[in-house]
């Protein structure tokens, strides 16, 4: 059988580092082929090289057995290759239709919107995709934006589709729908390259290629492998999926929130009468589908957003409405969900990011000047301790892969916080090795006597880490449950807005 796509000896270097090293890869017609590997293994880089977005230093690409030159996305599109990028490439100010048709016409002056509409409604109908073509993309929830990305590729008649972590931003329900659509595409002869960190999704593919540090470690038939084997290949060691949580009696109360209410930009209620408390040696999990107030809750707790009503007590002191700096001085550490926008300054070096926010501390300065030596020493320490994959401490944080960028944030917050850690989606988009690592670190801090508030969309994470789980829905807490006496299904009901039935 001829391959739909074949890559031979592909090598891609970025300044000073090798992202893809002599990669060989092939894709059969009608198959789902997973790319699996750690953060920074080179999956996105390989995809971008196939799509002609990056220019490989060496290597040859074959489409249907013929050698082809892919020097730009235009060549890729001509050969029927489509790509959905890891981070959306959409224009929020455009409608769905405009996002799909922009740049697809090669002649004429008018927009030919009517023809496009016809073609698109045919595609949507045949796959059962529901989107409003005239909605503005900024109005759409992220899950829907994913359909727009997929439609962009289908509209250009892609026969080979690269999906780079499409489910990272989808709810479990949306992911299921996506997999149905992917199955339908394969049935029609499209070939799919799928990148995902979620093992359950990897196991739905036909074959898997495991990448480690830019090299192909193995290509396996999915039916002949197991999640354990894949993870072993990926990180080169065994990873335990359930971290052991020692039983610890909660100590005195650290954070108490009472009747917290907050409004959004347009005056709508985003947090409604929230009350909970966290004690030393305790992890309070926050469950809920993204966008139900978790982000706003963390913003209020770390001082970025002003509450409208309610009390926040930190070790007995009312801290509602204090500035982030005042809260940091009181030992609050915050791991925000948007790494590159809120957690780091991408242009700053790792060393600078590690002291960001604490740059005034006498530890990091000599008089008015920053103590570069002390900061660099600290950074080298942290890079070793947290095993951050980077050439040295002067690398810009924006150049790090997602997992390594997250390690920088965790290192900074764990180093400076004392007593309370707020972690919003700390494992999103991370590979299983790093997830395990982050979980261990959180449990270690719990053991040291920290109080931790941890939000996650992965219920299994919360069940293995949290001592209690608060479920949020539309800005309210639907109930606070004990993971030892509650099932995932029961939490699922609360997440969908059902009230807690009697249990406390």
């Amino acid at each position: 059988m001829t391959t739909a796509l074949r890559v031979e000896g592909l090598t891609k270097r970025f300044a000073g580092m090798i992202a893809n090293d002599d990669v060989n890869f092939d894709l059969l017609p009608g198959e789902i082929h997973c790319l699996f590997g750690e953060n920074g293994a080179g999956k996105s880089t390989l995809s971008s090289c196939i799509f002609g977005f990056y220019r490989p230093d060496r290597g040859q690409i074959f489409v249907s057995g013929e050698p082809v030159h892919v020097g730009s996305p235009i060549d890729a599109i001509r050969h029927g290759i489509g790509m959905v990028h890891q981070h959306f490439v959409l224009v929020p100010e455009f409608t769905v239709l405009e996002n799909i048709i922009v740049g697809t016409q090669r002649s004429g002056i008018g927009l030919k919107a009517a023809d496009a509409r016809k073609k698109l409604s045919r595609i949507c109908e045949s796959y059962g995709i529901v989107v409003d073509l005239d909605a503005y993309v900024w109005q759409l929830p992220v899950g829907r934006q994913q359909w727009v990305e997929i439609l962009k590729a289908l509209y250009l008649d892609a026969r080979i589709l690269i999906l780079d972590e499409p489910t990272a931003v989808l709810t479990p329900g949306e992911s299921r729908i996506l997999f149905n659509i992917i199955g339908e595409m394969c049935a029609r002869g499209l070939s799919i390259i799928l990148i995902t960190h979620k093992l359950a999704e990897v196991m739905q593919s036909n074959r898997v290629t495991v990448l480690r540090k830019g090299r192909v470690v193995a290509t396996l038939k999915t039916s002949e492998t197991s999640p354990d084997e894949l993870v072993r290949l990926m990180v080169g060691r065994d990873v335990s999926f359930s971290v052991a949580k020692p039983a610890l009696a909660p100590g005195e109360e650290v954070l108490a929130v009472e009747g917290l209410t907050a409004r959004g930009h347009w005056g709508e209620t985003v947090l409604n009468n929230i009350s909970f408390s966290v004690a030393r040696h305790e992890i309070l999990g926050i469950a809920g589908v993204a966008g139900n107030g978790q982000k706003e809750l963390f913003e209020v707790l770390c001082g970025v957003r002003k509450p409208d009503a309610g009390a926040i007590r930190l070790r007995g002191e009312d801290v509602a409405g204090l500035t982030p700096r005042a809260l940091m001085d009181r030992g609050v550490g915050h791991i925000p969900d948007d790494r590159f926008r809120e957690g780091l300054v991408p242009e700053f070096s790792i060393a600078e990011n590690l002291v960001l926010g604490w740059q005034r501390s006498p530890k990091y300065r000599t008089g008015l000047m920053m103590d570069r030596r002390a900061i660099a020493d600290l950074a080298r320490d942290m890079i070793a301790q947290y095993q951050i994959a980077a050439r040295d401490e002067t690398v810009a944080a924006g150049k790090l892969s997602g997992g390594n960028a997250q390690k920088v944030i965790i290192a900074r917050e764990f180093l400076h916080a004392s007593g309370l850690i707020l972690a919003n989606q700390p494992t999103r988009g991370l590979d299983v090795g790093v997830i395990e690592y982050v979980q261990r670190q959180l449990l270690k801090k719990r053991g040291e006597g920290f109080a931790i508030v941890l939000a996650s969309e992965e219920l299994s994470d919360l069940f293995s880490l949290a001592d209690r789980i608060a479920v949020m829905f539309k800005g309210e807490i639907m109930g606070i449950v004990d993971p030892r006496t509650t099932t995932i299904a029961e939490v699922g009901v609360l997440m969908a807005g059902g009230r807690e039935g009697g249990r406390s």
Binding site: F53, Y54, I74, V89, F94, E98, N99, G103, Q105, G108
Partner: protein
């Protein structure tokens, strides 16, 4: 003050409003195209100045005003090509590129001007005359305001709907707006971001140069140092005040021109209000507008951010 309400005065104020608007309209519509493509061009002033000087040079040398107009456009294209090369190709910081160009244009036009007039009386030309449109210009009140203007004024007024059509109804406009909002979205469709930004900047600068040319040919008979006197900056403000929309920019330009026309007339009539205060009104109004309204801001998301792939 009450003399202001005489019909003749009102007609005169409104007619000069339209005349003052003309160069600003050309330039601001050109800049709208440029900024919508993501290039924050700060070289408007220099481009207008160069256009004005080119028009002066050709008008006095050849005696043909239309050749002078063409010269202004060509000067604009040349300036645009320089800015485009620096910003779209070399990816120099847009502010630095524009400010550098302004300095260059100021010094260069002055130098050329002085060597051109050395040792002789400064040559002059006679600028554009009003064109009375038959019948229409005889309509009372409206006729003298709208239908007794310079030919280029009609063209400038037509430029507003034309640019609107380009931006919102043509595929080129969609691609152009895409450049300003998210150039990568165009790049992944296989279109060259650099080539399109280059085209947008040279096209827009041609219009900007034309605006400078009209400033020369419609208002004056000679060149002076710093001839444009900050009009390029007014264009920059008009874009912000107009929220990067053709209609909004048109209104901003019209408001500015009306206030300037009022100021000049009041001065002639001997009013006590300081001229400078009146002239600052449009700026104050636009800042107030920006602060007061909670509009979805129309500023292109990637305005002024050089685009690279890796």
């Amino acid at each position: 003050m009450s003399q202001l309400f005489h019909e003749a005065i009102i007609i005169s104020i409104l007619a000069s409003t339209l005349r003052i608007m003309t160069p600003l309209l050309f330039s601001s519509m050109g800049e709208l195209v440029i900024q919508r493509s993501g290039i924050w061009n700060m070289g408007v002033e220099g481009t207008m100045l160069t256009g004005a000087f080119a028009a002066y040079l050709v008008a006095t040398l050849s005696g043909s005003l239309w050749l002078a107009v063409i010269a202004a456009v060509l000067a604009g294209i040349l300036m645009g090509a320089i800015i485009a090369f620096m910003t779209a190709v070399l990816r120099v910081d847009h502010f630095i590129a524009g400010l550098g160009l302004n300095l260059l244009a100021g010094g260069f036009t002055l130098y050329w001007f002085q060597s051109y007039i050395r040792g002789r009386a400064q040559p002059t030309f006679s600028g554009f005359e009003d064109v009375d449109i038959p019948l229409l210009s005889d309509i009372p009140f409206i006729g003298p305001i709208l239908f007794s203007q310079r030919a280029l004024t009609y063209l400038a007024l037509l430029a507003v709907p034309a640019i609107w059509f380009l931006l919102y109804r043509s595929r080129h406009g969609l691609e152009l707006r895409c450049l300003g909002e998210n150039p990568k979205a165009l790049d992944v469709k296989g279109l060259s971001v650099t080539a399109r930004q280059f085209a947008a900047v040279t096209f827009g600068s041609a219009m900007t140069g034309l605006g400078g040319g009209f400033l020369m040919l419609g208002f004056s008979d000679r060149f002076l140092a710093d001839f444009t006197a900050g009009r390029g900056w007014i264009v920059v403000v008009a874009l912000i005040a107009g929220n990067w929309k053709p209609k909004g920019v048109f209104i901003a330009v019209a408001a500015f021109a009306l206030l300037e026309a009022l100021a000049t007339h009041l001065q002639v009539l001997g009013a006590k209000v300081p001229h400078q205060l009146l002239l600052s009104l449009p700026y104050i109004a636009s800042i107030g507008l920006l602060m007061g309204l909670r509009l979805r801001p129309g500023q292109p998301a990637r305005l002024g951010v050089p685009y690279t792939r890796e």
